[in-house]
């Protein structure tokens, strides 16, 4: 169980590092260049969160499943 949890955290962390540069660019340009608050901040944050969890579940599971199917 602890091993499963550790693996899960690693997967979430790797996905975060994949998505982070893109989030940084979007937020940076929004704040420094456009200089207007986001139109729907909560909705957007929720969307990013869904994408993050979705990638973690979908792609990492696919890798795992494809390997075990071999």
């Amino acid at each position: 169980m602890t091993e499963w949890f550790y693996n899960f955290l690693t997967v979430i962390w790797t996905t975060c590092t994949d998505v982070l540069p893109i989030a940084a660019i979007i937020i940076g340009f929004q704040l420094l260049v456009i200089r207007k608050p986001l139109p729907h901040p909560t909705k957007t944050a929720l969307g990013f969160f869904y994408v993050l969890i979705g990638i973690a579940f979908f792609f990492r599971r696919v890798e795992y499943g494809a390997i075990s199917a071999r």
């Binding site: 590092t17 940084a24 660019i25 340009f29 207007k36 957007t44 969307g47 869904y50």
Partner: protein, 244 residues
């Protein structure tokens, strides 16, 4: 609202339908071709549940977060009227989404290993890391360049096929001069880069811009950024092979 009409449940159902053909292929081959029971049925079922859930969340997240923000930023830039900032943003978006792309990192490391085995570079860790980083940077630069030129095309209203024809002409011209070992990697790198997050974000940017700028049609001018972004890496990676 009944349970089955809830948008999330509907999306779950359609995600499952999207994945059903893949599942069917695996099961059919396992039973009729390999003729063995599925090794770990519990694992397969768990995996399928996670994949359906993941796909559902991903699509919901795109519709909730990435598509609206891509379009709203395109509107904001168009209203601001600063072409220079828009082009800078386009370049950063292309570069940033590509440089951290996991598939590209994996392919670049593999290419460095093969290059070391083929005595193209020395086999020490530093040389390999340098080679892999060089590949990643050339691809990221090329995607940044492609999104930038593609956005400029939307602003100016140039026809897409001129860009594509010029790009493939460049590929044809540069191929004979490139080292043989890099040609395959170069041609493949275009497909590796157009990733899960780049595609929806960049598409939203293009469509948002084409909608916001007067005289542009989103159907005609909004698409095509991805096509160009999967072409330029071929040229840039071969150039890296020549110049290195």
């Amino acid at each position: 609202m009944s349970f089955f009409k809830h948008p999330f449940v509907k999306q779950l159902g359609s995600s499952f339908l999207d994945l059903a053909p893949i599942l069917a292929v695996v099961i059919v081959f396992q039973i009729w071709v390999i003729k063995q029971p599925i090794p770990d049925l519990g694992n397969l079922i768990m995996g399928t549940v996670f994949v359906v859930l993941g796909l559902t969340l991903f699509i919901q997240g795109l519709e909730l977060g990435l598509f609206p923000i891509g379009e709203s930023m395109a509107y904001a830039f168009a209203k601001k009227g600063s072409v220079a900032w828009l082009l800078t943003f386009a370049f950063c978006l292309g570069f940033g989404t590509t440089v951290a792309e996991p598939a590209l990192i994996a392919v670049a490391n593999e290419a460095a290993n093969i290059a070391a085995k083929g005595k193209l570079i020395s086999a020490d860790l530093q040389a390999k890391a340098g080679y892999a980083m060089g590949l990643r940077l050339s691809v990221a630069l090329s995607v940044g360049f492609a999104i930038m030129v593609g956005v400029l095309r939307i602003i100016k209203g140039w026809p897409l096929h001129y860009l594509i024809i010029c790009g493939y002409a460049a590929v044809l011209i540069i191929t004979p001069f490139a080292p043989k070992e890099i040609i395959g990697i170069a041609y493949d790198s275009g497909g590796v880069t157009t990733s899960t997050i780049t595609v929806p974000l960049v598409t939203a940017l293009g469509i948002g811009l084409a909608t916001a700028i007067k005289g542009r049609n989103p159907m005609i001018d909004g698409f095509g950024l991805i096509a160009f972004a999967s072409l330029t890496p071929i040229v840039f990676v071969m150039a890296y092979g020549i110049l290195r």
